[in-house]
Every structure is written in C-alpha cells, then in structure tokens.
C-alpha cells in the first residue's frame, strides 16, 4: 500500500494505492488521522489504484468520515477502482460515502 497526500488551500487529496487490509490499515489510519490532527477536515480519497479493500480499511474510512463530519468537514471518495467500490457496496456503506467518478469532480464538490 502507498499513500500520498496533496494539500490544497481548502482540501487535501489522499491517494491510496495497493492493498488496504488488516496488514496495512494501521498506516492508512495513521495517515488520515494525522491530517485530522493538523485540522484538515476536507478530504478527497482517491481510490483509483486500490487493489483490495477489507473491513479493516473500511473501518478506518468510517471512523475518519465520522471525525471529519463532526468537525464540519467531509470525506469524499474519488474514482474508486472496482475492488474498492465492490467492497464498499458489499459492506452496505455505499450510501454513506459521497463518491465521484473523477478526482476533479470530487474536488469541485467542496
């Protein structure tokens, strides 16, 4: 799994690639909560390169979503790979996450 972040004035784009599972979700969680601790509550999660998304990764996403919404922010999912969107749908979380077909559309939603 690789995580890169790009900070813009109003929001932060987090690009995650590879396998987000129980072996890697700790790093995923640290990266996202690190942004929250810096006061970055508007997040775009680019999941185009996700190859596997387990419940461990989904738990992090739900936890971060709740945290940023409590702070008045939002977590949007951008261009999820089929492996990411399938996992989100199977877990019944597709109504929870605002999802956009492109990174640009997600950024424009803020």
């Amino acid at each position: 799994m690789e995580i890169t972040t790009q900070e813009y004035k109003r929001l932060t784009v987090v690009t995650v690639t590879g396998r987000v599972d129980s072996a890697t979700s700790g790093d995923f969680e640290s990266a996202l909560h690190g942004l929250i601790e810096k006061g970055r509550f508007s997040l775009v999660l680019d999941m185009a390169g996700v190859e596997f998304l387990s419940s461990s990764g989904l738990r992090v996403m739900v936890s971060v979503l709740k945290s940023v919404r409590q702070a008045g922010g939002e977590l949007c999912v951008a261009q999820p790979a089929a492996q990411a969107s399938d996992a989100i749908a199977i877990a019944g979380l597709d109504a929870l996450f605002r999802t956009f077909p492109s990174r640009e559309a997600a950024i424009a939603s803020f």
Binding site: S22, S54, Q83, L96
Partner: protein, 140 residues
Amino acid sequence: MGTFRLTVPGRLDRIRDVTGLVGEAALQAGFDSHSAYACELAVGEACENIIKHGYKAEDRGDIRVSIASLPGELTIELVDTAPPFNPARVPDTRAWTPDDPPVGGLGLLIIHRVMDQVQYLRRRRQNILRLVKHVPPGAG
C-alpha cells in the same frame, strides 16, 4: 477445476496468500471477476477473524486452507487450532443505519453477504469453517 491446498502461519501479512489462491480458484470455477473478488474478501475476513479473535494475536498458530473448485461452485475450508470461535452466527444488523454504521462487525457482515453457506464445526480441538459460494445466476 480441482483442489487447492495451502497452510499459512496466522499472520495478517499472509492473508493475501490465501485470498490470491481463492481468487484463482474462483475464476477457474467460472466466477466473474466481481464474484471472485467478493470470495477473496469474504475469505480474507474469515482469516482475519481467526487471527484476531481466535488466536488473539499473530504467530499463535497456522491456518490450513483447502479449496475445492467445481464448475459453478467454490468450497473453501479453513482449519485452525485456536480456542472455539464461531463466525457462522449471522451478525445482528437490526440496529444499523446507513448513516451511522458501527465501526466493528463489518467482517462478519461481508462473509455472510458474500457466501451462500457458512458452516462452523468444532472437531478434535480444531475450528473448521466451511464457506460455499455458487456462481450467481447470469454471471460467469
């Protein structure tokens, strides 16, 4: 078609070995890529439960995997020597709301949503979890 066997140490970073084999066997059984991936997800969750809730830590024991791939049907058996842990009970999601899901419990939910049969046996101090999935109608 055929039987695949694999034994891995109970470590989170070895779950990918199991799910990779499941995906391969599912494609051989005629599943499409979405259904094959769903099987990978479910088996990955089952392995994670064995390590976290059965063994309660990594490197406490092995997971023995056997996969039977038949036309239109996949059967996965996971055997471990952890204390009894039964993931076959269907999770109670009545209190869940789409806007405020609990952070826990997603793994069991995924297993039960994906697989057609989830059977648990405790035999000779072993947990035996048998997961069966049929090719969805119109898929493959």
